[in-house]
């Protein structure tokens, strides 16, 4: 039991971070907080990959005469790509939120849904004579 907690501490850290990010993405109402949660979520996965690449007694994966064991460089390379993807997604998300703020004047999801609901109500009220399905 103690071996599961102490021996695999990297997985516990990654799972805790991932759940914090996931909770923020789902439960928070402010759009910027959702984006921050998304960043935490993706960072947790990046940490997970890097932690699996470490080899006991290994040194940095650069050719050196005195080294025998190297770390695994592939997770690092994969995670460079994942970091770029994360940056791109955050940029697109923030651009959408800036436009949402200009159109609706607020960044809280509840207020935005309320405005949209009122708009749909007015659209429906203006057409009660034409509905014949």
């Amino acid at each position: 039991m103690i071996e599961i907690i102490i021996g695999k501490y990297n997985y516990w850290i990654y799972i805790t971070l991932m759940m914090i990010g996931f909770y923020a993405m789902i439960a928070k109402g402010n759009l910027i907080k959702k984006i921050i949660g998304m960043n935490i979520f993706q960072t947790a996965v990046i940490l997970f990959y890097i932690s699996t690449g470490k080899v006991w007694g290994g040194t940095a994966p650069i050719l050196w005469d005195k080294a025998v064991i190297y770390d695994n460089p592939i997770p690092h390379v994969l995670m460079l790509t994942a970091i770029v993807v994360s940056v791109g997604t955050t940029a697109v998300a923030i651009a959408i939120v800036i436009r949402i703020y200009k159109e609706y004047g607020t960044m809280e999801e509840d207020a935005i849904l309320e405005i949209e609901r009122k708009q749909a109500e007015e659209l429906r009220k203006g057409n009660t004579g034409q509905r014949e399905i």
């Binding site: 650069i62 460079l80 970091i83 770029v84 940029a91 923030i94 651009a95 800036i98 200009k102």
Partner: protein, 140 residues
């Protein structure tokens, strides 16, 4: 912030070194942490520091919109272009060994450098574009 003498003097001193460091990170990507993406971000951060100290209009004069618009695409085209050039010399796509730049090891090395330069140009231009788009908005 340009009235504050300490910030102005220090950033004037540091910005060229930050840009040089960006090129260093790009060139030593295979010997230490680094590479194209990281170098590009550091280069963009030097321009962002300039804008933070001197204001957006001054910063726009240093990084013209037309130049960043074109450089956005040029870097990716360098990357793709090197791959297509490898096709012309008889190899598979992105097989740098077939480039006529010396023996196999040197050609591979230089091919990877070319690609990383392309990546750095695009990443720096894109980061500067994103910053200017988001910072330049006047609140209505």
């Amino acid at each position: 912030m340009k009235d504050d003498i300490i910030i102005r003097v220090i950033s004037n001193l540091l910005i060229p070194f930050i840009q040089l460091y960006a090129l260093y990170v790009l060139a030593h990507g295979d010997l230490g942490p680094g590479g194209g993406f990281q170098g590009g971000v550091i280069f963009a951060s030097s321009i962002i520091l300039y804008v933070l100290v001197y204001g957006i209009d001054e910063g726009r004069k240093r990084a013209h919109q037309k130049i960043t618009d074109v450089l956005n695409s040029v870097g990716v085209m360098i990357y793709g272009g090197i791959g297509v050039v490898c096709l012309f010399f008889g190899g598979y796509y992105l097989q740098y060994g077939k480039l006529p730049l010396g023996d196999l090891k040197h050609a591979s090395h230089l091919g990877i450098y070319g690609i990383e330069i392309g990546v750095e140009v695009t990443v720096a231009a894109v980061m500067i574009t994103i910053f200017f788009e988001m910072a330049g908005r006047k609140s209505d």
